[in-house]
């Protein structure tokens, strides 16, 4: 926990439950909190256990907070602004010392919500009333928000979802074929996993993203960061995409494109062991991005969980940054710690001491949009993940192709190549 050097020194202050936390304007709220050594940011819905940001990439929901009076906002997607008011939710007395945390201790066997208090009608009525008060996360917004500007209605010759290596490969191929492309990236920067800057063998350089962006613009297309595709709806004239475009002000964009390449990548999954929900457990890729772009380190002693080159490369990166790093390849039995992780016990009895854990285990293909378009899915029995099972050149439906990690684990180089093949095929189609 801390900042790499003076280059990343805080220049503003955010308020978290009234406490001042130093931050850098524009960095994510979660970065400021991790740098300040405060990974505890929320409480779990049922047991009120301490939780903190896990995925750091807008997919899990462990970092939901109230921001300037708006409930259930992902802290990992919220840029810091001086004086920003962050309030933790679903806690009595703030998430750090939530009095309702007692629920976790009072119910060691857990809650079977189906059976709870069904022994008689009176008990049930009381339980339903109490449950209702305990349920839910945030409170209604403070104010009626300003209406969003009318949604735009735009046409592109191709839409590429995601700007990781697969999306970049596809966007470049389409731009080279002279197509007007919209490259939509949900994150504030291009590159997907290339932003980890792990330099694995064969990895394209992150600088390639800027080259692709340039090629897309030259061909009349657009590169949109902060553009989250929330739905794809295939139709007669092409596929309609609903896109939430962050900005001042944020706006909705309705995109119609006859060609789509999905490079939607993958989601991190929580590793399964006792206390796998402790604050201080984070997705390895996101930590690598935090280190490279915001100079934020998650602790003093980092355990890296996973096998393979990515886990090793993350371990090396943090080791170079001066952290004490241990690569954990064995199976974990349980994590230790109360309000943040303090160590791991392995199944073979080994002990690891750490104050943060980087998770580099199997990820799950982000197949939701592909599935909506009618893609066939295949179950990988080893990981439990459903991946897109595409046809020729990544085809999943008429005019819609998929490439990269959404079709299963692959290296960045393989993803870029699959993206190129898909982009070329869809450009011809």
């Amino acid at each position: 926990m801390g900042r790499l050097n003076e280059r990343f020194a805080p220049d503003c202050t955010i308020l978290v439950d009234g406490h001042r936390v130093p931050a850098r304007a524009g960095e994510r709220v979660t970065s400021a909190l991790i740098a300040a050594g405060r990974p505890l940011l929320s409480r779990s819905p049922k047991y009120h256990r301490p939780r903190g940001p896990f995925c750091l990439a807008g997919s899990c929901a462990s970092c939901l907070v109230r921001v300037d009076g708006v409930p259930n906002v992902r802290a990992c997607e919220t840029p810091c602004r001086d004086g920003m008011r962050i309030e933790t939710q679903n806690a009595v007395g703030g998430a750090s010392h939530d009095l309702l945390g007692a629920i976790d201790w009072l119910l060691p066997k857990g809650i079977d919500h189906h059976k709870m208090a069904t022994w008689n009608q009176l008990a049930n009525r009381v339980a339903v009333k109490a449950s209702r008060q305990l349920a839910g996360l945030g409170l209604l917004p403070d104010e009626v928000p300003a209406p969003w500007p009318a949604a735009s209605d735009e046409r592109f010759e191709a839409l590429v979802v995601g700007s990781g290596p697969a999306g970049l490969g596809a966007a470049l191929a389409l731009a080279r074929a002279g197509k007007k492309v919209l490259l939509a990236e949900r994150e504030p920067a291009l590159g997907g996993r290339l932003r980890c800057r792990l330099g694995l063998p064969g990895d394209p350089e992150l600088a390639w993203a800027a080259e692709v962006a340039e090629a897309v613009r030259r061909a009349g297309g657009e590169v949109a960061t902060g553009a989250a595709v929330i739905g794809l709806y295939p139709g007669q004239e092409g596929t309609q995409a609903a896109v939430v475009q962050r900005g001042e002000p944020s706006r909705m964009r309705r995109i119609l494109a006859p060609r789509v390449v999905l490079g939607s990548g993958s989601w991190i999954q929580r590793p399964v062991f006792e206390r796998n929900d402790l604050p201080g457990i984070h997705a390895a890729r996101s930590l690598a991005v935090l280190l490279a772009e915001e100079g934020v380190t998650p602790g003093e002693r980092l355990a890296v969980l996973g096998k393979g080159p990515e886990a090793a490369a993350v371990a090396k990166r943090f080791s170079q940054a001066g952290l004490k790093v241990e690569l954990v390849e064995g199976e974990v039995a349980r994590a230790r710690g109360r309000s943040r992780i303090s160590g791991l016990t392995l199944v073979d009895g080994g002990e690891v001491s750490c104050d943060a854990l980087a998770v580099a285990t199997d990820r799950m293909p982000a197949a939701e949009l592909a599935r909506a378009c009618g893609a066939t899915l295949a179950l990988d029995a080893a990981t439990g993940a459903f991946r897109v099972k595409p046809g020729e050149a990544g085809r999943i439906a008429p005019g819609i192709h998929a490439a990269g990690e959404v079709t299963g684990p692959c290296s960045a180089a393989e993803a870029a190549e699959a993206g190129r093949v898909a982009g070329e095929a869809v450009a011809r189609g």
């Binding site: 779990s44 819905p45 049922k46 256990r49 896990f54 807008g58 997919s59 899990c60 929901a61 939901l64 708006v70 409930p71 259930n72 201790w105 857990g110 189906h114 059976k115 069904t118 008689n120 009608q121 008990a123 049930n124 339980a127 339903v128 209702r132 349920a135 839910g136 996360l137 945030g138 409170l139 209604l140 917004p141 104010e143 928000p145 969003w148 500007p149 009318a150 949604a151 929330i230 709806y233 295939p234 609903a242 309705r254 991190i268 999954q269 929580r270 399964v272 006792e274 206390r275 929900d277 799950m364 982000a366 939701e368 949009l369 909506a372 066939t376 179950l379 029995a381 439990g384 459903f386």
Partner: protein
């Protein structure tokens, strides 16, 4: 405490998933519903693979796990954002998800017996409620067949409203009985339904609607209901966030209720099975055998079963099932879309419905705003896809009557099918054959009527004199031309 989590959005542990598996749920959709995995703000992005891996570890086959259908929007999206889309520019098409290639089907939950006294087609609340009530009356030689998983049809897709505010004495009587059963269901059946009498508030934006609710209120009071017509200011006392300029008056019955629908289905199924009924999921009816005026057997993809009585409780699929027996039902399936928002702390007591545009919404016990809105342009047909058009129509209608919701996000949208009849009344009793009993045509309010209706129907089948509904709502009424309809249909 030492807990191991699969889904951190909903605090679902490995133990919870195991418990679901031990109950016989081997596919992700059923496990999702029973445990709550993947129903929180992250929509399963952080847990589906590990949940599937857990099921495989427990002994499910890859075919049984079945792909899980993640619904749009992919990320929680503000109602105010969706309201900025022009619904008229959006198509009302089949929606998403598009049908995938067929996958290997899970195994049926049991073997099909050779014969049974009663065979019920359809494992929604109607069929299961009937099975349970028959068993309770001593008729236990009952086999129920369901083509998919439990809660896969309208019983698992509705908004969970139960209201007594109807326009005919019959419907009021049935709904009041359902409310009474709902009140004690959890304790009686040993499963929580989160039954909550938050009331129903119908907003009337036009003079004509005001006249309607005033007339209804008189009828309601005659039946011992506490319905009152409120001014906009009084309605604001009930729901402070309403914009009182959007309606002229509101009909308010504080005793109507909101429930969580799924546990009714599980509760009926579990208790019916405990009493000896066989509930067979993933078993599809493929035809019938008959002799003269009687059906003699039901053919399924798992074999043939002899039956003395066949009940068609297949909801929107009822006309399809009846057609297999050569019986033509006038029912037409019609898609109705619905959504939930992110969970919020309790703020909304009643289910609110706008009679002007069919919008309805309530707050579930988990804190989500649950709501839907019919689309007058919806064509008939079995369709379960979700459209962007619905999101924008709903968002506009909701933020209009309750502007604060602009700052709330939509979490998930889905769709289900109403089973629509020409006069909006159900089809009950024998049709085409003396022993082919209909229990369908409920036009989107079957869920709330089922507890009362299945109790009456089981009684009738067990030898009680029939309730008037079994004589009035027969298929033959259409030939007789008696079609005074019900007009208080929402959603």
């Amino acid at each position: 405490m030492a807990r191991t989590f699969i889904c951190t959005c909903e605090d679902v542990t490995v133990k919870d998933v195991r418990r679901a598996f031990e109950k016989g749920y081997r596919d992700l959709e059923s496990v999702k519903r029973y445990t709550g995995i993947g129903t929180g703000p992250c929509q399963g992005k952080t847990c589906l693979a590990i949940a599937a891996r857990e099921l495989l570890k427990l002994g499910a086959t890859p075919g049984e796990v079945m792909p899980f259908t993640v619904r749009p929007p992919l990320h929680p999206t503000f109602f105010s954002a969706l309201a900025s889309l022009d619904p008229e520019a959006l198509p009302l098409d089949e929606g998403v998800p598009r049908k995938p290639a067929p996958v290997e089907k899970p195994r049926p939950s049991g073997a099909l017996p050779k014969k049974a006294h009663v065979v019920i087609v359809g494992g929604g609340i109607m069929g299961l409620g009937l099975a349970y009530n028959l068993a309770k009356r001593g008729v236990t030689d009952v086999v129920l067949i369901e083509r998919g998983y439990l809660t896969g049809g309208a019983s698992g897709r509705n908004g969970g409203g139960v209201r007594a505010q109807w326009t005919t004495p019959t419907m009021i009587r049935l709904a009041q009985r359902s409310l009474a059963i709902g009140d004690s269901f959890a304790a009686e059946m040993g499963i929580n339904t989160w039954f909550r009498r938050g009331g129903y508030l119908f907003l009337a934006p036009s003079k004509k609607q005001v006249e309607r609710i005033e007339k209804n209120a008189v009828l309601h009071n005659e039946h011992g209901m506490r319905t009152r017509v409120l001014t906009p200011a009084e309605a604001k006392d009930v729901v402070p966030e309403l914009d009182p300029t959007r309606f002229l008056a509101a009909s308010w019955n504080p005793d109507d209720a909101v429930v969580f629908p799924w546990p009714y289905v599980w509760g009926y199924a579990t208790r019916a099975e405990a009493l000896g009924v066989k509930v067979l999921t993933f078993t599809r009816v493929t035809g019938f055998e008959s002799e003269g005026k009687r059906l003699t057997a039901v053919k399924t993809d798992q074999g043939t079963i002899q039956a003395d009585i066949v009940v068609n409780a297949a909801g929107a699929w009822s006309p399809e099932v009846a057609a297999l027996a050569g019986v033509k039902l006038p029912n037409e399936p019609e898609r109705h879309e619905i959504l939930v928002s992110e969970p919020l702390k309790p703020f909304l007591g009643p289910l609110v419905s706008n009679l002007g545009n069919g919008l309805y919404f309530s707050q579930s016990l988990r804190g989500e705003i649950v709501g839907g809105m019919a689309d007058p342009n919806e064509p008939e047909g079995i369709q379960m896809g979700s459209t962007l058009r619905f999101l924008s129509r709903f968002a506009r209608a909701l933020t209009e009557v309750m502007p604060i919701t602009g700052g709330v996000k939509v979490m998930r949208q889905w769709a289900g099918c109403y089973d629509v009849t020409p006069d909006n009344n159900p089809i009950l009793g024998a049709a085409g054959y003396d022993n082919f009993l209909q229990l369908n045509g409920w036009v989107g309010h079957g869920f709330m009527m089922a507890p009362a209706v299945t109790e009456l129907m089981a009684g009738w089948m067990a030898g009680d004199p029939p309730d008037e509904i079994f004589e009035r709502f027969t298929l033959s009424r259409f030939e007789r031309g008696e079609t005074a309809g019900e007009d208080f249909i929402i959603g």
